[in-house]
Symmetry: D2
Subunit: 482 residues, 4 copies
């Protein structure tokens, strides 16, 4: 089957019947929901790019499973070129949408599960890899959107799963049947869930012997019986419900997050990819996390590009584009943004094949990439605020523009450099606000810290992968110390 278009994708979602609660009530028609629509449009862009002449080659690739041409968002990477192409594709999507386009997590989960199931089968004689190949071949051929769900609620973070007052605070197998398993728990912070056809569920951390029920990985359709979605709220979210839309900042795209509850959900054996093999769980977490940390080296610079562009534009509108300090700040923003991208590209270029044959990024550099992502967007945002000016926090409501008393005052007093339309200027300011302190900041700032794991998780991996003993060896050799 050929890759879907954005329109095909939107249509395909209508068949899903997701049990969703938004703002205190159960909501059946997600398709028309103004809070949900922007994030669906963002995913749709990932489909349309496979048809856009300028990006078609980047977004299409030959499947290693079927030989068919597929959307790269469903690809199992076959080379370092593939890994680099992934990052470039993500930056482009960030450029188009200036928000989270959500589809990376499934791609990253698939590449991790692919190699781990292969190694698990070798170690335990299980049949997971074949199952996963079959599942993923369908995903490729139907060009599905898949969410990857990892983060458990975790309750008291100082305690292991079995020590929690409620063992469900880590998602677990509560029943093992002949034909499958029954799971209970929740996954938090799921960005693309409501816009996905399938979910891959993974354990949230390395499990130890005795924690077998929590070492579980599987896939289910998003509208499986027993799953409920509770919509998360974002900064300034309800502006999406207002008219006119100017104040929303990003006029077409946006993100969302849901808490996903698994209330005794049945998973048939054919869709189970890990089930108690605790020794594989840490590896799965680590690999998924590393792929996803690579992803941030593409998507966030992509958003950063638009933010930098908007900041340069507002400087031009304000008549200060050529001031030395403005120019220096724009250069610094670009420098930081490109340093993020360099991390994404570098961990890709130094990738290597797994035993299963797909390619994995350099684990150390992927973590280095993400650790910078937890920092630099804050500096970039601060400089954007600096250049944009105080209006970011004080500009009147769009509604006041239409008022016969206030409208003329606003147009008179928010006029800027010659040739600048006042409403355009307000648009740019609202967009910058969106990214630095509005709904977009959830993705650009909060998620940059926590997505794919918080800084402490990256630091642990850098400590492990940084080969401190090897470095001590270099010093000893040079100094002739035994």
């Amino acid at each position: 089957m050929a890759p879907k278009t954005g329109k095909d994708y939107i249509a395909s979602l209508k068949k899903l019947n997701l049990k969703t609660h938004i703002q205190g009530k159960e909501t059946s028609d997600l398709a028309e929901h103004p809070l949900v629509a922007p994030s669906r449009r963002a995913i749709a862009a990932t489909f349309d790019c496979a048809y856009d002449e300028s990006t078609r080659d980047l977004f299409r690739v030959r499947s290693s499973l079927t030989g068919d041409e597929i959307n790269r968002f469903t690809h199992l990477h076959q080379s370092t070129d593939d890994l680099i192409a992934k990052v470039r594709m993500q930056r482009h999507c960030g450029n188009l949408t200036a928000c989270c386009f959500q589809r990376c997590v499934g791609m990253d989960a698939a590449n991790a599960v692919f190699s781990v199931t292969y190694e698990c089968d070798a170690a335990h004689g299980t049949d997971y890899h074949r199952r996963f190949r079959d599942f993923w071949a369908r995903v490729q051929s139907d060009d599905l959107v898949v969410d990857g769900a990892m983060t458990d609620p975790k309750g008291d973070r100082g305690k292991r799963p079995s020590e929690q007052r409620d063992p469900d605070l880590y998602l677990r197998v509560v029943d093992r049947r002949q034909d499958g398993i029954v799971v209970r728990g929740a996954k938090l912070h799921q960005t693309g869930m409501l816009n996905s056809h399938e979910i891959i569920v993974m354990p949230t951390m390395a499990m130890r012997p005795g924690e077998e029920p929590w070492a579980v990985c599987f896939a289910v359709p998003t509208d499986t019986e027993g799953i409920r979605y509770i919509y998360g709220r974002q900064t300034s979210d309800t502006r999406k419900l207002e008219q006119p839309l100017l104040d929303v900042g990003n006029p077409r795209f946006g993100g969302q997050e849901v808490m996903t509850v698994f209330d005794d959900v049945f998973v048939p054996n054919e869709r189970v990819f890990l089930n108690g093999e605790v020794d594989q769980s840490g590896k799965l977490v680590e690999r998924f996390a590393a792929y996803h940390r690579q992803s941030y080296g593409g998507c966030k610079p992509g958003v950063g590009d638009v933010l930098i562009g908007a900041t340069a534009l507002i400087a031009r509108m304000n008549g200060v584009e050529s001031a030395g300090h403005i120019r220096e700040k724009l250069i610094e923003m670009i420098h930081l943004n490109e340093t993020l991208y360099a991390g994404g590209i570098a961990c890709s270029a130094l990738g290597h094949p797994t035993a299963a044959g797909n390619y994995e990024i350099d684990l150390l550099l992927a973590n280095v990439c993400k650790l910078n992502v937890t920092r630099f967007p804050y500096e970039i945002a601060r400089m954007a605020v600096d250049i944009a000016g105080g209006l970011l926090g004080t500009m009147p409501y769009a509604k006041d523009l239409d008022d016969p008393v206030t409208g003329p005052y606003i147009r008179k007093y928010l006029a800027a450099a010659e040739g600048t339309d006042v409403v355009d200027r307000m648009r740019v300011l609202r967009f910058i606000e969106n990214i630095v302190a509005g709904a977009g900041a959830v993705a650009y700032l909060i998620e940059s810290v926590h997505g794919a794991g918080p800084p402490a998780a990256q630091r642990i991996m850098i400590g492990r992968q940084g080969d401190i003993e090897g470095k001590i060896g270099l010093a000893k050799r040079l100094l002739d110390i035994s």
Copy 2:
């Protein structure tokens, strides 16, 4: 007259008849408006502290004009101890409200106008200082709230006032009458305006010969004919209109900003404090700015304290309070916050008397103080996000707590360390969200960059006050270079 209580203050506002436009409509009853009330409560706290036993001594001081006991927020500083007390008072108010309490700007304007009018009279034989003393004595005795308005819209920032297509883009005198002047223009970013009894208007920058109409300083009551207020919107502002209030983050206090339009407003001579003396305008801007930059060394650390406390509290609730990296981040947050405070205290301790007799802070250190304020809150906010976790951006609506389906799920899956109430945990998270990415971020992040002038303004002053020639002299002396 004795200092007002918070209740007195709220009552006094009811007599004002402000022409205010909020969310696209003119609004007569500000007293009951849920967007406005939080910011009024924040100012009320500055009055109540003068009656609270633990703070009474700090908040009351003897007036240099009348000898009466007054609220320190109306004081003309008489010593470096006064300057230090001001900063301590501001930190305390930040501790109480975790938002902008708005009343500093009038105090800072008064101290600047007091000394500049004295010097202007000496230079030009004008009568401004006596007028201002009379005016301010009334402010002290009636314990009024005064807004200080400086920022003009400025249009094309690359051009001088007279070069703008619309000369009103800088507020100016459009008519000089026997009994007073008529002014036209607007002042942006006015935080405390709607909660003030009086406005002191100042020029926005140093004016030059030929720019006399723009070199104007005066005071008018906030409900003077011809003044209109257009309410600015803040991130997540409409959460203040929701029920339940949990999601608003800061349950009692908050800020706001208005654009203030002066549409041919008449000012009687007795209230005019500068009128065309361009040589005094730059000094007035510089002094007001320096006092106000000192202020940020008090109020922002005050908010920072609460944010740090909330962050430590959420760490405790999550069961990670004793983790090494959490502890290190909290220490770093404190370190940065105290560095801000050190700036506020230091510029106060090295203050000096003006010719008029009131005390002025050290100009260099006041600018250094503020320049740190433009940076460190972003780092503090980033670390708060890091510790608080991803729920900051994904937590369900408060409304879902009451739903019979979702409420139990939320309580089950957001449970944390033993002894932690789930709703309390949500309160803490919503508060942190408020400061780092919600309505509070307008004050804590955006205003920290732009309030009292943007970083570039501080840098210019540091360049001027930093005595580079003197430092070159030190090097030359040491190296024996002539």
Copy 3:
């Protein structure tokens, strides 16, 4: 007795007979030693300033012990004004010498021992405070230089004193006699030791019950039997032995450090100020450290001023003084330097009296001050390198200037902006090199990190003094959480 002049001071040193080892040989005549002389001249400056008209008032103060006029470097601070004056005095000395002038450590030790002995006497009925007053009154009246020695070698830092293979790795009492004690051990990193008349020895950390032998504080003359000094080497130290002196960078002043060995040194009872009272030891360390951390808020900005001046001067010589990015960097250097100073001033302004009557700085802010000192000099140095240019690391030897072949080439090709003497330019470059990568860097960079304790020590104190519980209380009150 009147304060000494620098000349008096230099003369007084000749009477001392210090057992000193420099560069592998015992050295008797320190007075003429070219490695030692620059550091003696630096201390002499602290004496001469008490006679210089422009600084006399700052450097002289009335003794609280004797009522006589004394050099402030021997003062027990009696007010916050005294604490501020101390920091201003230190900055001035840094301005004069661009190196460590060594005399603060004794002043800081005295102020700490003064209050701790008072409290120890109250707790234990000891007679230490009277002894110390007598000792210190002599110091004041003879205007002596006193070293304060705290840092023990510490061996395996993971172990307590008694757990070390060699108990002497922490200086300890090895014998208690009727008339005094005998001590053994070493103190590292002693900057002013060879230029001092007296040493105050203090414990290196808080001792616990069972560690009484290590909880010892006393004073001895520097030429006491059993004390030996092993000279430490500094980066580029031997340039002080070369001719011409141009390459040394700082032509008149410099620092040094010695390891001081106490090989069974007898201390008479009258000079013992702590002897086994372990509960007082931590307090003594903490107070001395805090006074000394305050000191860094004066001396390092003082050196920073000269470095900034030299950097501005080389920019002028290179013809780039007015380039925007140069100007921005100079401003940033000033900003960072003044932030250090603000820490020193702020902890002084918020000081408070001890039970013994002398004044102590605010402990939290003193630690905040020093923690910034461990960071900003590196940034300032980096910017100095940036502006100064690559010649910092590649400039020919001064000796080549006199060579008939190379001299003309150097003068031809190192010529810079009109009016700049080539040798002056080389002087400025060598001076900058001295501070950022030469002998001066030991004081400006390495000592800024480790003097008065490393960053980790300041962080521990900030964690303790930062009142995290109080901050949690602020958040709880605002959020109405019990």
Copy 4:
């Protein structure tokens, strides 16, 4: 001819007769000079690696000119894999030597001159490319070391070459003869010059019409008539002349720099590669600089590895290896070091072929790479100082170790964790000192700022290459602004 060994290389240098002035006298026997030998050993390592089994494959490559197997240091890059291999090779050399191994500059110059001469010939009908190919084929086949010389003295940096009082302050053609040109001027900061067989001279910046004499590129043997070398001095350089060598820090390797004077040097036509084509000069500077900025993404992380290793080793020796804050600092050092490497790898992975056929790195990312190199080594050095402790600046002379009085004291009091040899500990400390404040700091800190151009040069390129207009376009498209 097969690649040389290190021994071959050292032998080949003996034939050179370089006119060198060191420490004020002309020096004929460089081979035995203790200041020079360490830097020659560092280059020799680049030859030996082509014979070491573990690195042979990385260091050997097939020449695109001759088809022979050559040392990669003379390679014209043929692919992005070649560009990545270059960076990996450089990191390895940094690991081996912990200093500048000098040989990159010729490789980088060659790759730039190769493509620019090709384009110059196409534009101007010149014969430069063929000449350069011939020249470089000999370099490859003889496995020569080539220095690339770019930096002119520049005199008053605010003026163009022809505006200088002395036109020679920029190297220029002073005579054009039938058979060649005569040049005069100087090149500063030449690291590998004294250890090179050949020099490629390039212009220092983009020349403009009218500045033809300064737009010159050519190659000459290092011992050409008229060339003189004046040795530059480094921090702590004379420790290399001392015995024992312990205090030198890096026992085998080190760097050096010379000022190179061209006093009317004749260059035959066959060795001239640019001669007045001003339109090609800026491109040549830009390309060489970009290749060389890429290089810093390899060599500096290579040195960083050893510094991090030494820092971890001293922490272990001190018994604090497992302390949380030590661990966190080591992780941060690794993170910063790998971010530098990521820049080097990323600009390589996104390289592209030039018209001449060799590969060029991504210009934007190469500049981003280097701009980070101007910053992070300072932070890494600061953390190394922090962990290493104050002994870095105060440790006794190696000579004192042999003294019968001081030796035992030093061994007693510098003892650390069990199993640590005191002299080994001193070796590690001296090595760290070497990198952060000794001779190694010239390369690791000063050169990291200025090598391949100072930060301002990288910022200009980032501003140019950062496509600000394109980014504005992204914002406009998203916001539907025309």
